[in-house]
Symmetry: C2
Subunit: 187 residues, 2 copies
Amino acid sequence: MDRIPGKKTTGDRGGAPPPALRNGVRRSDAGAVRDIVSSTGLFRPDEIGIAVELVEERLRSGPASGYHFLFAERGDRILGYSCYGPVPLTLHCYDLYWIAVRKEAQGMGIGRMLLEHSEKAIAALGGRRVYIETSSRPIYLDTRRFYERNGYRAEAVLKEFYSPGDAKVIYVKALEQDDAEGEKVRR
Amino acid sequence: MDRIPGKKTTGDRGGAPPPALRNGVRRSDAGAVRDIVSSTGLFRPDEIGIAVELVEERLRSGPASGYHFLFAERGDRILGYSCYGPVPLTLHCYDLYWIAVRKEAQGMGIGRMLLEHSEKAIAALGGRRVYIETSSRPIYLDTRRFYERNGYRAEAVLKEFYSPGDAKVIYVKALEQDDAEGEKVRR
């Protein structure tokens, strides 16, 4: 699944306070997710439909759905969100399914904030490795650079995956864990 | 997801006719799938549960579930089965989720028969690439060799995926297609 993070630039935050984070999911979030993902201009209707479906599945089945969300909001307005969950049949791997920032709120560090807090939440759930899948197409170059700047490395490339000439790139990051002695270790 | 094919050996078919193939799914298939997958001795209870869940999801939602099945049976007895389906958001990729042959029916070429007919069915549905994911553990060595003998190559390895020391190996095979001139071409 393709994703678009907030493009990380600096200096243009304009003094606004950082957005608040929320991990509970509300009925109105489905429409907000549709707006945010659509606003990026990067996704096809079928991809947007899947982003919304994950919210609806979470509303239907709760945490048992395997989909966890993090919303970044200022007042009533959701500026970006992430969606992640455990990879079935693995002991401690998580997928980051989506991370997206509303077009007009990009460049303020919201994508990075969402990514860092998603990783912390995953670690708190016992996750040790985070996978992100994205496309090799040039339009996703900024997206891939964002992951690389944040400690992800491309572990595998599946050629001709999405369509002819469009490969899937699988990124992974090993999370830091507190070991038995309380020291931070990178596995 | 891990899978176990029928071990392909020769000369021990004992004159029995080849099993019949069926692609319709019946309520009783859920129990048969549990028996077959359990009989291999290779799967944990949570993995067996997922194999059964795919049958149940197919019974609930029909072909819209995205899960297609092929059963090899002799009389009333199901000897093995495969389960495959389209990979969401891709134009022409399919996952082979499961292929398993009942322990006492292994070594008769049933796994190979299921694999070949699954590939034909995938091609008929417009699929051009088949992915199979399996484990790097030594217990799956025969499984991996079976895929390699049948034209699959390991395109990617995700280390520490299932558990520490247990990687995921992603196999792929490009299916032969009839091109515009009716000639077989390998893409």
